[in-house]
Amino acid sequence: MKTSEFEQGRNIIMGVALFLFSFLILRTMYIFSNSIIPGMSHLYNLYSGNIAPNIITVILFDFRGYDTLGETFILITAVITTTMVFGWGSLKGYKKKETPQMTEKSTIIQKLLSFPMSMLLVAFGVTVILGGHITPGGGFPGGSVIATGYFLSVVIYGLKKTPLRFTHKFLVNLSTIGALIFLLTGVVGLVFSAYYHGTGYYLYNTGVDPYQIINVGAFGWDNILDYPDPTHPGVIPYLNIGVGFNVLAGLSLIAMFLMEAKKDE
């Protein structure tokens, strides 16, 4: 059999397999809605009102807070991998490239409008991050909004002239701080619950203390992790801030590397 005939046969087999598989998935999706059981989601809806007003944030940062830590690390790892493609941290060493001179392509309107717009985006992003526990939003969307603001100003003004200038080192520091806030808040929960209760729980919400196992306020300093807010969401806003730092730094770092790589085409 010639190679081409062989490939043709293989393509037919692949096509049939793909068709059958898609049929299976679509059929499953079609009958799916009849057999859904609420399960955990029902439980979470029942109990999360005790912790913070925004139920989605409570599920994301309290019941499944450790998963969110993992998701943050997917982002960190992906950002580092992307920078590695450009040579950062590779086994052959990294040579800092000259920042390319941007050709003047932006129009006056773009130049006039993009700075205030990116400032607005940054301000909006900060609001989204800080209001994560009461309104829709949180660290992931807020961080991406700020990174969008940075990206807008970099695209319009270029890396050298941009008014919203982050250095590479600053972004790496920010990302480190964000990740450490999340990781160490968890360790604080672990240490406090181990101290009062005997068994430690990672990411235990020490500010809210939902199971009354730690004696909040016994020393005066041990409820520092309750966010000063009438809703008393405990550590959730701090975790939001950590994730926000991380997302903002990660996405901006990718934008920066992409802009630097533009010269090489």
């Binding site: 059981i37 955990m40 499944r64 590695m84």
Partner: protein
């Protein structure tokens, strides 16, 4: 103090170390210090921790939830749960010790960066999480982290071939990651649960599997094949091993086999009543064994050859698990541990040869036994070990796999296992002869390269192989007890 409190630290501690070394990426001495101290602490934590269950965020198990229609079973875990038992302990100690070796070897090189070490730490943390997780979604999250971190370790070599391999790995990774996630979503929809123990109880309580759960099983099995590097994905996986630095390839094959074991146990636990799953696993495992050993016989590059041998051996592990009896599953897991050790020696030898000769093409190097006799001796012993020659460790596990195959009524699989051992032996001993004994070498040895660290580590590892071969019950008995207790 050393109760279940320490369990999350097995994941969190390497993550903190990764963040710190990534932050200090240029300062060589501080990166070295942090990496060495943290990797040693990472070995100590699993040894100190007592067996138990860790509840994340302190969310307890509900007690007899009244509305049965919404939950299927009366009491479930509310949050994420990690379970730590004897099997997890063995796997974690093995994983952390091997990671320490790889970090030590990597730190000895020039131009090593904190970013690279950070990726090793992140992969360590994610494999630890995969071993410990009793929660399906957490399991998936860390599988994704692992895929990206492994790709980064290969990309760091910065050659066109390694970029290609990592890119292919990521593409297939996105397909398999997507299918695992869809499978988990379907299971969450029809059973409303994510915890593996609860899910298994709910499926047992519900009687026959729902048709939607069957789709979920098939989707998750696709992910299982990819993560373990079995048959349709074996080329992608062996490409990764071959294009990474050889010592990192040793780490990658270790991680794949540990994930293979962890994920198989998870699947068998959840769908214990569904026997077709085991047959599907067995079928793919047989394909992998055949394809891996045949392709290994054709190679002329030591790294490529070892990559295919590693894939074939993963097939043997999966075969033990797919046979589906307690005896065969524990034999498969035992073989995973043995194989990881001897495969690591061979990859470290390849790393030594790569550093000394700047190539691993077997037809260029010759006469090496006179120059590096110790490495040659250890490679010969490791070849014996991996082919299942007594008194080394793989003999014990391969014997058990053959016995369990015969007991399960598949005597012909025993023949296949023996053929695989022979093929592995022939493939590696050919490379050994060409590199170490054939007169006339076109490649010159680097006279400055001493490689003391490599030599120490391979001698320690071959001693470990011999120890397990002589006293197999130290490792095998706890595994067998766990598998019998799980009742899969």
């Amino acid at each position: 103090m050393f109760n279940s409190t320490l369990i999350p630290l097995m994941v969190v501690f390497p993550l903190i170390a990764a963040i710190l070394v990534n932050f200090l990426h240029k300062k060589d001495r501080s990166v070295k210090t942090i990496a060495i101290i943290s990797s040693i602490v990472a070995v100590v934590i699993p040894i100190l921790t007592l067996y138990g269950v860790h509840l994340f965020s302190g969310h307890i198990r509900t007690e007899s939830f009244p509305e049965m229609s919404k939950l299927l079973i009366p009491d479930v875990y509310m949050g994420i749960v990690y379970a730590y038992g004897p099997l997890q302990k063995i796997l974690l100690v093995l994983l952390t010790i091997m990671t320490v070796f790889v970090i030590f070897l990597s730190l000895n090189k020039k131009l090593i960066s904190g970013v690279y070490i950070a990726m090793i730490f992140i992969s360590l943390a994610s494999v630890s999480a995969i071993i410990l997780a009793d929660d399906f979604f957490n399991f998936f999250v860390f599988i994704e982290v692992l895929t990206v971190a492994q790709a980064a370790l290969v990309i760091a070599v910065r050659e066109t071939k390694s970029h290609k391999a990592a890119f292919k790995y990521m593409i297939f990774g996105s397909i398999s990651g997507g299918s695992i996630l869809l499978g988990i979503a379907l299971l969450l929809g029809v059973y409303g649960l994510l915890n593996m123990t609860d899910l298994s109880n709910a499926i047992k309580a519900g009687g026959a599997l729902q048709p939607i759960a069957l789709t979920a099983i098939s989707l998750i099995t696709i992910g299982w094949l990819y993560e373990s590097g079995l048959f349709p994905f074996h080329v992608v996986k062996s490409n990764m091993y071959e294009n990474a630095m050889p010592e990192v390839a040793a780490l990658l094959q270790l991680q794949s086999k540990v994930v293979l074991v962890a994920m198989s146990i998870a699947l068998l636990r959840i769908f214990s009543g569904y026997s077709l799953l085991k047959s599907v696993m067995l079928g793919f495992a047989i394909f992998t064994v055949v394809v891996g050993s045949v392709m290994a016989l054709q190679q002329t590059d030591l790294r490529k050859l070892l990559s295919f041998v590693a894939v074939g051996q993963a097939g043997l592990v999966a075969m033990g698990i797919g046979l589906g009896t307690s005896f065969s599953i524990s034999a498969g897991i035992f073989h995973a541990i043995n194989d990881v050790l001897s495969m690591a020696i061979l990859f470290f030898v390849a790393g030594f040869i790569f550093e000394a000769y700047k190539t691993t093409k077997v037809d260029k190097i010759g006469d090496a036994l006179q120059k590096i006799p110790l490495v040659g001796l250890v490679m010969f012993l490791a070849t014996l070990a991996i082919s299942g020659v007594p008194p080394f460790n793989s003999y014990q596990s391969e014997l058990r796999i053959i016995q369990s195959a015969v007991q399960a009524g598949y005597a012909e699989l025993g023949v296949l296992v023996i053929l695989l051992s022979v093929a592995t032996f022939v493939a590696i001993i050919k490379a050994f002869y060409l590199i170490f004994m054939r007169p006339g070498s076109t490649a010159e040895i680097d006279p400055k390269f001493k490689g003391t660290m490599y030599k120490t580590i391979i001698v320690v590892l071959i001693a470990m192989c011999l120890f397990i071969g002589l006293f197999p019950h130290v490792i095998y008995d706890p595994i067998y007890n766990v598998i019998v207790a799980l009742g899969v």
